[in-house]
Assembly symmetry: C2
Homo-oligomer: 335 residues x 2
DNA sequence: ATGAAAGCGCTAACAA
DNA sequence: TTGTTAGCGCTTTCAT
């Protein structure tokens, strides 16, 4: 194995000079830098990660804790993870993958062993058992999602309340007067995941504000549940002309169910989803939607973390404003 | 920060004794072990990962390289990743996530800096540019998938050829005489990903062997493509009564397309998929299928890697035998 | 602008 | 069964 002393000898300088040339933490004469770089290339030198971590107390590794349970749309998690890895690399960091299963002990372990410098925690619950731990940990963290009590923590997410509201506004502007929200599976509400409730709040508040009739319906993430939901909505709310869906796997089945029941989308019924743009675009009838910007959230989370590692100030809360794209599933009421 | 010398002092032993108590690499008297454990708990000691890696030249971290491109079913990748993380933890290892994008340089980086002890590479192509590198790297690796030339490498995957064959056999035993394979998107074949071609080979070979008429059709992973495919199959192959689908996003849309075209599934047309059991089970009509056992592949890959790290022998090739479960989409020909 | 040298916290020979 | 000690390869003060 080639080490820094080998490079130093080869370049005719001291090890510390090589180190400084690498880190840029002190000025190096152009000539010296050239020689060092040449030696590094020639010898194929790679600094030993462990030695570096030990000497500098920086591992240049971030932990990413991903969820893995019902009601979570897998592609969203995956896209998020990929964007975290990609952004982290741009900041010269790597990403260690942890599952929710590891729990608090897992977080403590990677933080206390100095395996990672900082943590990104996905799928934060309203009252998340990990919050007290994250507050006391000596390493910075960023949460995806907003717990009930976020003081002292750094959180980022799509502004789901505004997203729910934007959907209603869109429908209202198209003249719709009676709307329904088809939401996440009941389990998601039960475990108090903030985003599901926030959508509901934003949806209901916007509907009330504009004097629309509105109802909210959690829904299992299966085609069968979508079919049942469509039937029920038409039965119980004959006036219904606008539907907001916040449940990825159900968006397409729901539209198909409505069509099977004889409704034209968007002529008789407008549907707007809160889902990844990709899903909305690829549907047979492209779906009007508010984007769930996983990639952007990932990138921003990493940037926040980097600022924290540099001891710069960061906002406690970052709410990404919703972006609604009208596609082919919404139309003015009455055709 | 509590360090090993603190624990040693507190327990009245030497640092090496603490180290050995932790690693189990030499016998420790019951009494001493007790005291050490008590001290560790009392002081909240956690060994520093970097220091450990430096002293032992073992980081206890595995690299997992995941693919991220068209034609790859995201939930399969995700489930695989989760199972790798879970299994790795059972062997006291963590997992560093790398994307395919990082390419060979990424592999070299994490290996040469000793950031990881070993690597798992997903989505290996028939002629994969990373193979020569993996062969020369000083760290063990396991590939998911089989390249054209696998000598000197350790590979594992579902036996996709046998899977294709098992589907045909199932249909043949039900009396079907004319079958079609709806496969992965053309892009997957073009980039020479082994599994797509292996399914085709196994499918065709089994059909020929049993004297069935068979055709093969790559298919884009969209509902629209599924619809077009269904129409085309019925038009071009009126005798068709059995379909094998190896393209997750298309399975359900294809069944629906056939039904829209007036065919009953399974009475008029049997459909068997190669896909995760989860997908097959959750369909409105549970789908007969050969399981793509991502979780098992992940677990097995980690076990292979652990054996290699322990310098034990491992087979170069591990082909998991297909497991076909008959559900509600296959039936004897002619009802 | 550069060098010398003292650690960083741990493991594993070597010694007893 | 346990202790002593020399590194592991790097960063970073302190000097010059």
């Amino acid at each position: 194995m080639v080490k820094i002393t080998d490079v130093a000898r080869h370049a005719g300088v001291s090890p510390s000079t090589v180190s400084y040339a690498l880190s840029g933490k002190r000025p190096i004469s152009e000539d010296t830098r050239q020689r060092i770089e040449a030696s590094i290339r020639e010898l194929g030198y790679r600094p030993h990660a462990g030695a570096r971590a030990l000497a500098s107390s920086r591992s240049n590794v971030l932990a990413l804790v991903i969820p893995f349970r019902t009601g979570i749309h897998v592609p969203v998690v995956m896209q998020f993870a990929v964007s975290v890895v990609t952004s982290a690399r741009q900041h010269d960091h790597d990403v260690l993958l942890l599952t929710q299963e590891e729990g608090e002990e897992g977080l403590r372990r990677v933080a206390d062993t100095a395996l990672v410098d900082a943590l990104i925690v996905m799928d934060v619950q309203l009252r998340d058992a990990r919050l007290p731990l994250l507050r006391t940990l000596d390493r910075p963290s960023v949460l995806i999602g907003f717990p009930a009590e976020a003081a002292g923590l750094t959180c980022i997410d799509l502004d789901f309340a505004a997203a729910g509201g934007a959907c209603v506004t869109h429908l209202a502007e198209l003249g719709h007067r009676c709307v329904a929200l088809v939401g996440s599976p009941p389990a998601v509400y039960l475990r108090q995941t903030g985003f599901a409730q926030r959508v509901t709040q934003g949806f209901t508040a916007a509907a009330d504000e504009r004097g629309l009739t509105s109802t909210v319906h959690p829904c299992e993430a299966t085609p069968a549940a979508a079919q049942a939901m469509a039937e029920r909505l038409l039965r119980e709310h004959p006036e219904l002309t606008g539907v907001v869906v916040h449940n990825e796997p159900v968006v397409q089945p729901l539209i198909e169910a409505f069509r099977r029941l004889g409704l034209r989308v968007p002529e008789d019924l407008s549907v707007v989803a809160i889902c990844p743009d990709e899903l909305a675009e690829q549907a047979p009838t492209p779906i009007s939607s508010v984007a769930v910007p996983s990639a952007e959230v990932g990138t921003r989370a990493v940037e926040l973390l980097m600022r924290k590692l540099d001891r710069l100030d960061v906002p406690e809360a970052t709410l990404l404003p919703p972006r609604l794209t009208r596609r082919a599933t919404t139309a003015p009421r009455g055709g």
